[in-house]
Symmetry: C2
Subunit: 215 residues, 2 copies
């Protein structure tokens, strides 16, 4: 029984890691599409989100089967429940990458690149959320909670860029159209939420190490 | 054992219903603060969100204890897992009400009310999200999945208002400042997400009736 359970948990881990890699692929594509006005890439990210949804559904089904068949207790139970929550976070990260890709499709003319300061800001955003996503994969793979600190650090940078984007769009010298203001406000929110989900995942991994559900 | 389990499930239900009532209270307060430029009300919603977080934490702890002690299988297991997901949805709805209240604090001068069309649109938004929140409580209380249809209907209205708000802020005759555009874009997103979580909860309740996890 124990051996079967360990085998199933290793399947869970593999699925979490694969999903996290797909999320990284999605956020890389979405941000690159946004920065380079790459419409086909944006469309492919949007279509590909179904694959992430399907991976998280498989994961949830596997976890429910494990709970029903193995009836885990104590730490094993916490592992399964945390995996369920992490699955939900990854699913949302995929959605947010899709939302960012959708905004890229509104700018086939690459307008975002016209405002140099904003382009640089979004390039920095991109670097940080892609790194966050890669760190989540590493954390799920290695279970090394020291990675949580790097995630927290990246998230702090994302938060400060988030605040800076507000300042830019509200500044007197802002030259974007109203449509730009709306889309940049939304993209700004999506980046911030994406990072937030990465932090939630790292909190769940820390919880597994410490036992504090609300770590 | 079975009797204890039923008793604990009824505790779960009570906690879900109380949390849902607190969420309704929060969204009522947040939207009323936004429409009437009621700063003290907005501040009280922001402070009160901690109570919702604490209720969902209690709920999660209870659910984990039930899983560990009772080792439920089949339908009982699905009930517990759905409750965990619903708890997460309610927690997010509380957060979104708090975000809306935060936007209200940026408009102590009641500026939102100056633009008649937008005021009416937000009044309609308010009516629908408060109704959604109340229907969620009723659904959790009665477990009558027919309520899910009303929730879906309210959500359709919210989606159409959401699209309308974009049209208004992007129209040529829009008289709001850039700050208004940014805050209205965000509020618009928060309303839409709030409704989305209500739909997720009703899907979970339908799942309990049908057994389809991704209903």
């Amino acid at each position: 029984m124990r051996e079967v359970f360990q085998q199933e948990l290793s399947q869970v881990k593999d699925l979490l890691v694969s999903t996290s890699k797909e999320v990284t692929y999605a956020i890389q594509g979405a941000t690159s599409a946004l920065l380079n006005a790459d419409l086909p890439l944006a469309e492919s990210v949007i279509t590909h989100d179904k694959a992430i949804d399907s991976l998280t559904t498989d994961l949830d089904e596997l976890l429910i089967t494990i709970l029903a068949k193995q009836q885990p207790v104590a730490r094993d139970l916490r592992v399964v429940l945390s995996a369920l929550r992490i699955s939900a976070n990854l699913e949302r990260m995929g959605d947010l990458a899709k939302h960012i890709a959708r905004i890229a499709t509104y700018y086939p003319e690459g307008r975002l690149g016209e405002t140099t300061e904003l382009y640089e800001i979004f390039a920095e955003f991109t670097e940080n959320v892609v790194d966050l996503s890669e760190q989540v994969t590493r954390l799920l793979e290695t279970e090394d909670v020291a990675i949580a600190q790097r995630i927290a650090h990246d998230d702090d940078i994302v938060d400060s860029i988030h605040a800076r984007v507000f300042e830019i769009t509200l500044a007197d010298d802002w030259k974007g159209s109203r449509r730009d203001t709306v889309n940049i406000t939304l993209a700004n929110r999506f980046f911030e939420r994406f990072a937030d989900h990465a932090v939630r995942i790292s909190e769940k991994m820390e919880y597994l190490a410490t036992g504090d559900w609300n770590a």
